[in-house]
Each structure stands twice: as structure tokens, then as C-alpha cells.
């Protein structure tokens, strides 16, 4: 097998820049997600800060070359802090006309446009509903267009391997990747390594993909296609060891961490659903941590099996997305009634109903708050970045176990699939979780309560002398016996509410980012964090006095929120829904907050936030 070494880098113009936004787009079959994550890992390991945004259709593979079939992967990387994948794109790699057509609008004027010119036959154009060839009409004049015959060039590079045409063409994304590595002066080693163990059994494919990538790199080197290449120095992140982490991965390892900290086995009851399935996939690999993953027959069995696991002393978990969340609501009520710990993850997606399975949204907040029969309050947490998912997972488990309550985590598709560099914490940076099972029969009562947390004892089957019965019917406080008395019912309803309210004692006061008072307070939650942070930064630079509080705890809320709302002239609540947090804030604090509601299955752009602030503060 030919040994491969990076070409000696010839002298050519290099520019040092602060940041860049790059997007790969092509057919679902073109491997854009792989290409993107390879580039991401390389950039991450080099030490840039970054944020990514994979965006693909709900179909496994829509027909090749068609508009609905287009899949994209965007990354922003920088030597400074990065909060979003970026609004507009510096470099766009388009594998076919459909991809070009649906993505070109996001390319900056005079931006670099790399196009696979081999994919522009009349047939290809027709599939993209194009009547003229954009490479020929002048529609792309505003950009620095680089038409590259990716198929032709790749085939040439691989001609000696004796692969069939189809297999050779499958390598063309690595050719494009190689070009981008050259463009940003990155080593290909990491991807070489990845290719090697990805195809370990297929030596020929290993070589083919490596060759293709290298050919792409050399192509730039040789042809000097681009007069200039770019260098983006490492970012000054908090010192530590870093890895690149997606939101779903972060949740998964967060739960494992919590189970280790609590000394409890982890049980996941789940039914696959986009975009939550990866948590199930991830956790099913951690058997050596004693993790039990149960793929149930449906979402109801998923949560009820988790309730059974919790009843018998496991750290129990169920993961899903909107439609599955709707199916779990009756069982959530049971968890509230029997007061057992349970963590419910809802990785939100576009709705209603089946809606937009692969697109992001924040419209399950009110379902999480109220989507159960009768009064059945549940604490709710929301992570703000992919890495934050880890910490929220741990915190949710801690609360569930401390207060003996179900807890809901609201993540979303954008956090789930997006990735960012994550500083790996030392084990002792992770909060300890104390758990005490009841063991003493003396004076044991299933519904006696801890005075501070109002938690009832956790008395698991198998414990000598603690035999007792629980259920979903209303029960007498302390004894837990079935009870229909009017005053007992009111007492229990208020107790269950007080228990959730008690969580406030664990919630630190909110400290606004930016200005502690002034013109505008932005209150938000979840994955809007990055865009808001970035947008606020620019607007404060323009002299506006703006604060930002991002709610990790949505129910109950931090004690000082009401007071904060009073410190600013305006309150803005950007959400990817029709105003759900807005409603909660208005009802609770009687403050006329303004909603900024985008519900397009797409995250906010930094520029949108800036424009909105501009509109309010003029």
C-alpha cells in the first residue's frame, strides 16, 4: 500500500484571519455529515473554538439530486470565542445543482464557492428544477466561483486501484475535504487515522479515500487554484483538556456520570425517535458501567418501565421527542403521584404532530409544564449549549433523587446534533449526589416526608420489613393508604406543588450577562443562547445597556427573576415557538414582556437578534 505523506507545503500567500464559516452541502448520499464532522474534529484538535450545525432532510435518502434531498453541514471556527455556527458563509462547497440552489443565498458576497462541475448535466439541472446552468449564466458573478470536476479528478487519482466507477465517485467528498484542509492549512492526519479504522476491514477503501483526500489537497497546491490560503490561530479557551461534543453525547455521558456519582445503576427505557435516538445508541454501548438500556415497544412502555426501575432503586431515565412526549403524559402523572425519581428528556423537534422530525423547535415548554391531567407539577431544566447538556443531565438527576420527583429536560434538535469544544471536567468538579434508601422498619411510612425537601422515603423491594403499597389513586399523607377525603386531597395537591417549589432553594440567583440594568433585558432558554450572546455583544458595543439571563431552571424559576425584570426598560423573550416562556413570565410577574418568535425549524441568526434589539432600542 502506497505510504502517504503530506506534500511539502510550497510557498504561497497565507493570510491570518480570526474566523471562518464553512458549509458543505450536497446530496443525502454524498456524505456531507461525515465530511463536516471530519473537518470539525481537525479544527477542534488544532484548538479553535467552534460551533456546528448539521441540517438534513427527514427522509433517509430523498431521490439523488433533488431539492428535498439536500443535506448540509456548517461550521464556524475561530481564534476567538464562537457562539453560533455563523449566519453567512465564507466558503460554500456544493456537490450538485440542488445543493447550490438551496444554499447559495447564505454565501457572503465575494465568498468562495467550490462547485462539483461534473454534476451539472441537463439531467442534474432538471432534478433541481433549474432551466439554465448557473455555472454558465451569470447568476454566480457575485462570488469567487471555483468549478472543480470532482468526479473526474477523483477517478483519475484512483485509477490504479481498480475500483468501479461508483465506488470511486463515493470518494469525491474526501477530495473536497482535502481542498478545504489546504485552504485552511490543516493537517490531514486525523482524518487519515479515522479513515483507517472506519474501513479497517477494507484496505482498498482506506487507500482510495486517503488518496482522494490527498489528491484534493495536492490539487490546490499544484494548480494554485486559490491564490491564498488562510490560517486561523488557536483560541484562548479556559485551560484544560478538551474534546468535541454534541448535545446528545453530552446528555448520555452526563447520565452515566450522575449514576456513578449517585452509586446507582442507570436504567434507560426508550423508544427510538428522531432526534433523540442517539442517546439510546450511546448509552447502549456503556454496559461496563452497568447501564441497562431497554428498547420498549412504545413510548408508554418506555416511561412506565423506567418508573418500574425507579421503584426498584435504579436511576431511571426515558428519552424522546415531541410526539413521544405526548404519549408519556399519563405516566408522568403516575410518577408525580407515587413520588418517584425519574428523568424525562424531550429533544424537541418541529411540530405539531409528526411535523418536521429533523428540524429544531422549542415548542414543548408548555406541554412539559401542563401536559398532564389535573395538577401534576414537574421541575423542568433546559441546557443552553451542546456541552451544557452534560451539566444539565447531572443536575436533573440530582434534583430527581433529592426531591423524589420526575424531572423534565428540554433539549432540542439543534443542541442534540450541534457540537462544540468541551472542557473535560475533573471527576470532583462534578457535584456529588447523595442517595439514601430507607432500611429501618421502625416508624416507616411510605409517605412520611423530609422537612426540607418534602421528599418521601425511597423504600425499594427486597428491603426486609418495608413491604408497602403505592399507586396512582389519591392517598393519605404519611400512610399512603387510599383516601378520598376532601381535605386530604387538597393537602396532597398542595404538597406535591410545594415539593416542586422547594427546588428553588437549590437554584442560584440569576446574574445577567452584560449590563446589570438599563435599556433591555433578554430572557431566554435553551439553544438560543449562542445567537443571543453573540448578538448582544455587538449591540452593547454600539452603546446599548443590555442584560441577558438564560434560564436553565424553567420550573421552578430562580427567586430573583421577578426583581431583575424590573431593572430594565424593556424585556425581550426570543423563542422558537409562539411565545411560551413569554406567557409564563407574563402570568407570573405581570410584566409586559415582548416575544420574538421565530418558528421555522431553524435556529435564530445572530443578525436577527441584533435587528430585533435595534428595532426595540432604535
Amino acid at each position: 500500500m502506497a505510504t502517504i505523506t503530506d506534500p511539502v507545503v510550497r510557498a504561497h500567500k497565507r493570510e491570518v484571519i480570526e474566523k471562518a464559516v464553512l458549509r458543505f452541502c450536497g446530496d443525502s448520499g454524498d456524505g456531507m455529515q461525515i465530511t463536516g464532522s471530519q473537518f470539525t474534529n481537525t479544527v477542534a484538535l488544532y484548538g479553535n473554538d467552534l460551533a456546528t450545525f448539521p441540517d438534513y432532510p427527514a427522509e433517509i435518502r430523498a431521490p439523488a439530486g433533488t431539492l428535498p434531498g439536500v443535506s448540509g453541514f456548517q461550521i464556524q471556527f475561530s481564534s476567538a470565542d464562537v457562539f453560533t455556527p455563523g449566519d453567512a458563509v465564507d466558503v460554500l462547497v456544493a456537490m450538485n445543482p440542488a445543493a447550490l440552489r438551496t444554499n447559495i443565498k447564505d454565501l457572503k458576497p465575494n465568498g468562495i464557492l467550490i462547485v462539483n462541475s461534473d454534476a451539472f448535466t441537463d439531467g442534474d439541472l432538471r432534478k433541481a428544477d433549474l432551466t439554465t446552468n448557473p455555472l454558465e449564466d451569470s447568476s454566480l458573478d457575485a462570488y469567487r466561483l471555483f468549478p472543480v470536476g470532482l468526479e473526474r479528478l477523483t477517478r483519475t487519482a484512483l485509477q490504479d486501484l481498480g475500483l468501479d466507477a461508483k465506488s470511486m465517485d463515493r470518494c469525491k467528498n474526501f477530495f473536497a475535504l482535502g481542498m478545504c484542509y489546504w485552504l485552511y492549512n490543516r493537517t490531514m492526519d486525523l482524518t487519515y487515522k479515522w479513515i483507517e479504522d472506519k474501513f479497517k476491514t477494507k484496505a482498498l477503501l482506506v487507500e482510495a479515500n486517503k488518496l482522494a483526500m490527498r489528491a484534493g489537497y495536492n490539487y490546490c497546491e499544484a494548480t494554485e487554484a486559490f491564490q491564498v490560503s488562510y490560517e486561523i490561530p488557536p483560541a484562548k479557551l479556559t485551560p484544560g483538556t478538551y474534546r468535541n461534543l454534541s448535545g446528545n453525547q453530552a446528555l448520555a455521558i452526563g447520565f452515566v456520570a450522575a449514576s456513578q456519582k449517585a452509586g446507582l445503576p442507570l436504567f434507560l427505557g426508550s423508544y427510538p425517535i428522531t432526534p433523540a435516538s442517539d442517546i439510546l445508541h450511546e448509552l447502549s454501548m456503556y454496559k461496563n458501567f452497568g447501564v441497562m438500556t431497554f428498547q420498549a415497544e412504545d413510548e408508554i412502555a418506555a416511561i412506565t418501565s423506567a418508573i418500574g426501575a425507579s421503584y426498584s432503586g435504579a436511576l431511571a431515565l426515558t428519552t424522546t421527542s415531541g410526539p413521544g412526549m405526548a404519549l408519556k403524559t399519563e405516566a408522568m402523572g403516575l410518577a408525580v403521584a407515587v413520588e418517584l425519581p425519574l428523568v424525562i428528556c424531550d429533544i424537541q423537534r418541529g411540530g405539531p404532530s409528526t411535523g418536521l422530525p429533523t428540524k429544531t423547535e422549542q415548542a414543548d415548554l408548555l406541554q412539559a409544564m401542563f401536559g398532564r391531567n389535573s395538577e401534576a407539577p414537574i421541575p423542568i431544566l433546559a441546557p443552553s449549549t451542546p456541552g451544557d447538556c452534560f451539566w444539565v443531565a447531572v443536575e436533573a438527576c440530582r434534583i430527581a433523587l433529592k426531591y423524589m420527583v420526575p424531572v423534565i429536560i428540554l433539549s432540542d434538535g439543534y443542541l442534540a446534533n450541534g457540537a462544540e469544544p468541551w472542557r473535560i471536567p475533573k471527576i470532583d468538579e462534578i457535584p456529588g449526589i447523595k442517595v439514601k434508601f430507607a432500611t429501618d422498619p421502625n416508624g416507616f411510612h411510605p409517605y412520611s416526608r423530609d422537612p426540607n425537601t418534602l421528599a418521601r422515603p425511597w423504600a425499594i423491594p427486597g428491603t426486609l420489613g418495608l413491604e408497602h403499597r403505592i399507586g396512582g389513586i389519591e392517598k393519605q399523607d404519611v400512610t399512603g393508604n387510599i383516601n378520598y377525603e376532601p381535605l386530604n386531597h387538597e393537602k396532597m395537591v398542595r404538597l406535591r406543588a410545594a415539593k416542586v417549589e422547594a427546588v428553588t432553594q437549590d437554584i442560584p440567583d440569576l446574574v445577567p450577562a452584560g449590563d446589570p440594568d438599563g435599556d433591555l433585558l433578554i430572557v431566554a432558554w435553551g439553544s438560543t443562547y449562542g445567537a443571543i450572546t453573540a448578538g448582544m455583544k455587538t449591540m452593547r458595543a454600539k452603546g446599548h445597556r443590555i442584560g441577558h439571563v438564560h434560564l436553565r431552571h424553567l420550573n421552578p424559576m430562580a427567586r430573583n427573576l421577578g426583581e431583575l425584570l424590573g431593572r430594565y426598560r424593556h424585556v425581550l423573550v426570543p423563542e422558537m415557538n409562539l411565545g411560551q416562556l413569554s406567557m409564563l413570565l407574563r402570568a407570573k410577574f405581570l410584566v409586559d414582556v415582548q416575544g420574538y418568535n421565530k418558528i421555522q425549524g431553524q435556529p435564530f441568526k445572530q443578525s436577527e437578534i441584533e435587528a430585533k434589539i435595534e428595532e426595540i432600542l432604535g
Binding site: 474534529n41 477542534a44 484538535l45 484548538g47 486525523l190 488557536p234 479556559t238 485551560p239 484544560g240 483538556t241 478538551y242 474534546r243 468535541n244 455521558i253 452515566v256 456520570a257 456513578q260 445503576p265 436504567f267 427505557g269 456503556y286 454496559k287 461496563n288 452497568g290 441497562m292 431497554f294 420498549a296 415497544e297 412504545d298 408508554i300 412502555a301 412506565t304 418501565s305 423506567a306 418508573i307 418500574g308 421503584y311 426498584s312 432503586g313 435504579a314 431511571a316 399519563e330 405516566a331 403516575l334 407515587v338 472542557r423 473535560i424 471527576i427 423491594p461 427486597g462 426486609l464 418495608l466 413491604e467 408497602h468 403499597r469 403505592i470 399507586g471 396512582g472 389513586i473 387510599i482
Partner: protein, 342 residues
């Protein structure tokens, strides 16, 4: 093993202080009494018992059993029990359920639990009616039955409950009757002895909303003519004078008379094999009650050993730990490509 020293338990040890809230005369009392007298004989410490249920009159069962008990929500008992059993395979988990709870809203969880062969013992109280909601028809109510919700009679054929669960490849399938205390206790003990899932249909009388549903089988006179007891290795003979038997003819069963000069004798009669490798055999037996002129078989239709879900799962975990050692959190957190920032 906690079983080292088991206190001698009695029926009283399994009774609770809660007053039993079933209608006077309800068949559930008999079932409760049978279970309370069988549990102490199993040689299992009381704290190892978990009795789980859904919703229904029958599902009130856990409140009257002095064990760990969980009265869950309608139809979901099998899934809750599965979570318990996976987490603690050593627990003795029983599920009390009704024809509505188990076969209407809970049908899917039931067949999946049975398919997986989770080691749970199911007591399905079949009174062919929704009792707690005051008398609507259930998936086991006979075709054309007039009930509160079907004043002109039902339009659908009932499930054959045992046929259905055999179709789901249930490893232990049996039937007994509330008032046949001896037989019921016997059957429960066999279910307890089985390693995997056990599904026991218990014919139960709801004297308020479906009184006499099983009259033919329970009424002293007719009883022996309408019931055939399945005993492993014994021929299917029944009748007051044990003068009737079941014969296998090709793929069909037929009722034959013995010693009435037709030359037929005991050796012509089908000999019961509860361990028959082919579920089609038990399935054939389950069809009997549907066929006019045939007796209803009670006892164990099928008993077949296969891996339990929870065992395979824990073995997977043990194997991985044995191979890779117990998980190391620090390693997990820093898995994959990492880099240092100084």
C-alpha cells in the same frame, strides 16, 4: 443469597390491614385467598415479592397483599413490572390484571412482555366484563353480548386469550378457575416454579355485572362434563364417569366416548405433553373452548424453557465488564480525540 434463613411464613403474613373493597360474593376473594396461601409455601422471603397491577377491580389486588405492591395505571402493569424485573432479576414479580387491563388497553405490553419472556407471573382475572367501570363489554365477552355499552349486542368476536398469548410465544400458559381452590393453588405453584413469563388465565365470576359467566364450568352438576383437566403425561379424559376423551385426528381434535362398545379405549386418547416443543400443540388445545361440544381445558397448556430477557441482559453486562473491566468515568469523559489548552 438471602434465602439462607427464611422465616417460616403463613397465610396471615400476606394479609394487609386494608379492608378488602370488592363486592360481597366476588370471585376475586377466592383468588386472593389462593395466592395468600400459595406464597408462604414458595420458600421465598416476603420482602422479595412484588405484586404489580394496572387498574380494575382485579387490579386492586396489591393493596390486599402484604408484600411490596404497586397499583399502576390502566394496562401498563407489564411494562412497569418489566422495569422492576430487569433492575432486580432476583425479585419474585407477580402481575394482577383483568381481561380489560391485560387484553384491551394493555394488550401490546402484555404480548411484548411475554415475547421477551421476562420472568413475571401474570394472573389474568377473566370475568369477561369491565367490572370497575360498571359493566361494559371486554375483549373476552362473547359475540353478541348485551352490555351497558352494547345494548344491541357486541359486533366483534372475543379474543381467545390463551390462543393470543401462545401466538406471542409465551413460555408458560395455564388456565384455572376462581372456585376450584385446589386446582388454582396447584396451578399457581407451577407458574411460580417456571423460570420465564407465566400467563395464567383465571376464570372469575363478577356477580354484579356478569354473574354466571362461567356457570357451565363451575356449577356442581355439569362441571365434570364441561371441564377437562390437563395433566402432563395423562390422557385427556373427562366426564362424570370419565367416559369421554379427546382424540387427535390429523389436525383436528375430536370428542370420543369410551367403552360404549365403539371399541375406543384410553390408548386412543391424546396424552397431554405440556412440554411439547411445538407451540401449535398448545394452540390446538386453546381452541377447544371455542368448539361446541368440547370441554374447556384447565391446567397447564404449555411449559417451555427459554432464556429470560433479564438474564440475557445482565449476562451481556457481566461479559462486557469481565472483558473490559468496570467502566472508568474519567476515561469515559475524555474518550475520543482530545486536546490540551494551556
Amino acid at each position: 443469597m438471602t434465602t439462607a434463613s427464611i422465616p417460616v411464613l403463613t397465610k396471615k403474613d400476606f394479609q394487609t390491614d386494608q379492608e378488602v373493597r370488592w363486592c360481597p360474593g366476588c370471585g376475586d376473594y377466592a383468588i386472593l385467598s389462593a395466592v395468600q396461601s400459595v406464597f408462604p409455601e414458595l420458600g421465598i422471603p416476603r420482602e422479595k415479592f412484588v405484586v404489580i397491577s394496572g387498574i380494575g377491580c382485579s387490579s386492586r389486588f396489591p393493596y390486599y397483599m402484604n408484600t411490596f405492591g404497586f397499583h399502576t395505571i390502566h394496562g401498563r402493569g407489564p411494562a412497569v413490572a418489566t422495569g422492576v424485573k430487569i433492575t432486580h432479576p432476583e425479585l419474585e414479580v407477580w402481575l394482577a390484571t383483568g381481561d380489560g387491563d391485560s387484553l384491551a388497553i394493555g394488550g401490546n405490553h402484555t404480548i411484548h412482555m411475554l415475547r421477551r419472556n421476562v420472568g413475571i407471573k401474570v394472573l389474568m382475572f377473566n370475568n369477561k366484563i369491565y367490572g370497575l367501570t360498571k359493566g361494559q363489554y371486554s375483549p373476552t365477552s362473547e359475540f353478541g353480548k348485551k352490555t351497558k355499552s352494547t345494548p344491541y349486542g357486541t359486533a366483534d368476536r372475543p379474543f381467545n386469550p390463551l390462543g393470543l398469548v401462545i401466538g406471542a410465544d409465551t413460555s408458560f400458559v395455564a388456565r384455572s378457575v376462581d372456585v376450584f381452590q385446589g386446582h388454582l393453588k396447584d396451578t399457581l405453584k407451577k407458574a411460580a416454579a417456571h423460570k420465564g413469563s407465566a400467563y395464567v388465565e383465571i376464570l372469575q365470576n363478577c356477580n354484579i355485572f356478569n354473574d354466571g359467566a362461567w356457570f357451565e364450568l363451575t356449577e356442581k352438576e355439569a362441571r365434570s362434563e364441561h371441564v377437562v383437566q390437563l395433566e402432563n403425561g395423562k390422557p385427556l379424559i373427562y366426564g362424570k364417569n370419565r367416559d369421554k376423551g379427546i382424540r387427535l385426528n390429523g389436525m383436528e381434535l375430536e370428542v370420543v366416548h369410551l367403552g360404549n362398545g365403539n371399541g375406543l379405549t384410553e390408548k386412543d386418547i391424546l396424552v397431554h405433553d405440556e412440554h411439547h416443543p411445538n407451540p401449535a400443540y398448545a394452540f390446538l388445545l386453546a381452541q377447544m373452548e371455542e368448539k361446541p361440544g368440547f370441554p374447556t381445558p384447565i391446567g397447564v397448556l404449555r411449559s417451555w424453557d427459554r432464556d429470560r430477557y433479564e438474564d440475557v441482559m445482565s449476562k451481556q453486562i457481566q461479559d462486557v465488564i469481565a472483558k473490559r473491566g468496570p467502566g472508568d468515568l474519567a476515561k469515559l469523559l475524555s474518550a475520543g480525540d482530545t486536546w490540551e489548552v494551556r
